[in-house]
């Protein structure tokens, strides 16, 4: 009791110093964020389900929104101290000052990208999945390499689906390229392409919600695509915050909360067969 009282007096006397004191104590991120005491997180515009629900990351709903808040909390930022901004892929990699502390919108970590920007440790490993129309499945398509080679493929430009198609599947005719999901779907509905590669959660969502007749017919075993797509948080090259973000991520991994977040927001997709 005595101790509590004395502590209260101490706190009271240090009323104004208190907030800054608690900052200075053990926060790795001190002085490393754009705005002191705030964490600025970037996502896509629009941000897609299931990564962010309803294009509203502030709600914390959706896998990436939840991960961002969990990481922020581990780094010592309360929910109200997290600010969201939007960037395109290009804005994230352009030279010059960034307008975010870290940016998460399913950025796959690649060696070449790592030369220009910094990535955190991966927060998600995505399997590459094949999206087609139901009528293609009814036409007898099986997730087997020989059949996949005969398809006309569509690829979203900014994704790492490209190596999966060109190196692993090696289709007989050239793939077509598009800027975003919507265009890939439009081309599929116009019958200009048969199939497209997305990361599994996006493929499942696209098939179930964005298309009337979509189907995910297969996913690639992890060793097929050279490395399973690993999503990392993108930061400016040489960002001082990187170690803090990585510390927070490994803490989340160690205590199992990252897996919990994944289970909560990303549909378990055990029924999608592996490509043979």
């Amino acid at each position: 009791m005595l101790r509590k009282i004395s502590l209260t007096i101490l706190m009271g006397s240090a009323l104004f110093a208190a907030p800054s004191l608690s900052f200075a104590m053990d926060k790795c991120a001190d002085g490393k964020t754009m705005t002191e005491g705030k964490l600025t997180v970037a996502t896509g515009n629009p941000a897609y389900y299931p990564w962010v629900h309803d294009d509203a990351p502030e709600s914390g709903k959706g896998f990436e929104a939840a991960v961002a808040y969990a990481v922020a909390e581990k780094m010592g930022f309360a929910k109200e101290n997290v600010t969201w901004v939007r960037t395109t892929f290009d804005e994230a990699i352009q030279p010059g000052v960034k307008n975010f502390d870290f940016n998460l919108q399913q950025y796959s970590i690649t060696e070449d990208r790592e030369k220009v920007v910094d990535f955190s440790d991966p927060y998600y490993s995505a399997a590459a999945a094949i999206l087609v129309r139901k009528k293609t499945v009814e036409g007898g398509l099986k997730p087997e390499m020989a059949a996949l080679k005969k398809l006309k493929w569509g690829i979203m430009q900014a994704t790492t689906a490209l190596p999966v198609v060109t190196d692993v599947i090696q289709p007989e005719s050239d793939a077509l390229f598009y800027d975003d999901n919507a265009n890939v779907i439009a081309a599929m509905q116009a019958d200009q392409i048969d199939a497209a590669i997305f990361d599994l959660p996006t493929a499942l969502f696209t098939a179930a919600v964005l298309m009337d007749d979509g189907a995910v017919i297969g996913q690639f075993p992890a060793d097929r695509s050279e490395n399973p797509d690993q999503f990392g948080m993108l930061m400016a090259e040489g960002s001082a915050l990187k170690t803090c973000v990585n510390e927070a991520l490994s803490a989340l991994k160690a205590e199992g909360s990252l897996a919990k977040i994944e289970a909560e927001w990303l549909q378990a997709a055990t029924d999608v067969p592996l490509v043979k």
Binding site: P95, R113, T159, Y178
Partner: protein, 269 residues
């Protein structure tokens, strides 16, 4: 040399010195000062990476052949459709009034719409109606979209050429016994088309660049290839490669067109 000539020679020398000095100064400032900017190293790495330039060039050149192919088959179609529309807008017979309305409507619509929208609408929309392969190809319908848009512009240019031929020439030709059709064919069009060659050269160059917009609906031409490399390397150098490729194509083309036009003008005068 009289005093005036001396004065003029002096003035000329002075102008020359000032021009060279200012040019040297500007070039030096660019070469010396730009690299001094704090972000230059980052900008250089993102836009002018020699390593990425070399790695991306072969496939970019390969992709550019698709641009040239689309351009080569679009340009004659644009010229043909544009001429038809211009003629439709120029008919005077009362019975053919609906043709004039059609021509005006065509120009209003396709000149007023953004090219990208037309490409999306025609490139995804028409095949979406249920055309079988290969008739739903984005190459076909993308070309149709480009041709529709550009022939609207070209039609207006040709029409201005047709209207620039003086009425007295038509009257003279008619009084000599030529039919309306022959007046257009032998008297008006040859002059009209020549007069608008420079304006149409502009359209050709613009068309050549807008071929890249077809990449929105799938084809991998040079700009899409640049975009793919940009995503893979997280680097903008491939766009610089694309710019270099475009320029090596358009600059000689414009110079050649200038040369042709000068030659033609000299022959006529």
């Amino acid at each position: 040399m009289n005093r005036r000539a001396q004065y003029e020679a002096r003035q000329k020398r002075r102008a020359l010195i000032i021009a060279s000095a200012s040019t040297v100064f500007i070039v030096l400032a660019l070469v010396v000062l730009v690299p001094l900017a704090p972000g230059w190293v980052a900008v250089q790495k993102s836009f002018f990476s020699w390593d990425i330039f070399v790695r991306s060039l072969p496939k970019m050149l390969d992709a550019f052949t698709l641009n040239i192919a689309i351009f080569l088959w679009s340009a004659p179609l644009v010229a043909f459709v544009g001429l038809l529309i211009a003629l439709a807008r120029s008919v005077t017979a009362p019975a053919l009034f609906p043709l004039r309305v059609f021509g005006a409507g065509f120009v209003d619509i396709f000149r007023g719409l953004p090219v990208v929208l037309v490409i999306y609408l025609i490139g995804f929309g028409i095949p979406g109606l249920g055309l079988p392969r290969p008739w739903n190809s984005p190459y076909i319908w993308g070309t149709v979209a480009l041709v529709l848009t550009y022939s609207a512009y070209v039609a207006e240019i040709l029409r201005s050429g047709i209207e620039s031929v003086h009425q007295s020439q038509r009257s003279a030709a008619l009084s000599l016994g030529l039919s309306e059709r022959d007046v257009m064919r032998y008297i008006v069009l040859p002059q009209a088309i020549r007069r608008v060659v420079p304006a149409n050269m502009n359209m050709l160059i613009a068309l050549q660049k807008d071929v890249a917009l077809l990449s929105f609906i799938g084809p991998v031409e040079v700009l899409r290839q640049a975009g793919i490399y940009k995503s893979l390397f997280a680097n903008f150098t491939p766009y610089v490669v694309a710019a270099v490729i475009f320029l090596t194509f358009t600059i000689p083309a414009t110079r050649y067109a200038d040369y042709l036009m000068n030659k033609q003008r000299n022959e006529r005068s």
